[in-house]
């Protein structure tokens, strides 16, 4: 898969993909003999995982730590699992808070609805 295609399927710009490689989120990307990147199915799976972590609010620095552990092989399985466990707990807490915020927002919307009804009465 060339850069264009990879960019399209991941939804990330070529700039962003190169940036991710530069900071070490993507590693060992194959190259053609002329120097162009060639992305594999594995690269795709990995970047989708990165995207998932990112979309749940994990900063790239911490994703990088996961990438470092992954690089070191099987012996780091427990450390990686711990990292994911912490993150999923934080995410659960965030979900609880956001749910609470949503409820309050809806109450405020309802307040506006009543206000507007009474203005038109």
């Amino acid at each position: 898969m060339n850069m264009k295609e990879f960019s399209e399927v991941t939804g990330l710009s070529a700039h962003t993909i190169r940036y991710y490689e530069k900071i070490g989120l993507l590693r060992h990307i194959e190259r053609t003999k002329s120097g162009h990147r060639t992305f594999s199915k594995n690269d795709l799976v990995w970047i989708e995982f990165i995207t998932r972590l990112k979309q749940t609010g994990m900063p790239l620095q911490q994703i990088l730590k996961y990438a470092d552990l992954r690089e070191k092989g099987n012996s780091t399985a427990i450390a990686r699992m711990d990292l994911l466990k912490h993150h999923s707990e934080a995410l659960e807490e965030k979900l609880r808070q956001e749910t609470q915020h949503l409820k309050k927002l809806k109450e405020k919307i309802e307040y506006y609805e009543n206000l507007i009804l009474s203005q038109n009465a």
Copy 2:
């Protein structure tokens, strides 16, 4: 309420509070004759609302739009309600996605748990 107290109850630094005033998120903050800010109960309610919007991912620019509408009085009630409705819909969608992400994360954690069990067997 002076700056120190307001900072403590809101959990925001004095720097951040002044910054919020500078960009127009906080307006008409009273001053003592010597120039020190004095925050009211109203200011507190308003900043808690700002914080809620912020914590659900609304950028300050958009919160500022809400503040502008609020400034203009009752005639903007519908516009403000619309803004909140859009945001609460976006938030609902975000919650759905995060819930999905959480599920996948937990699956991955379970995968690690099994892996580690089999390594120790």
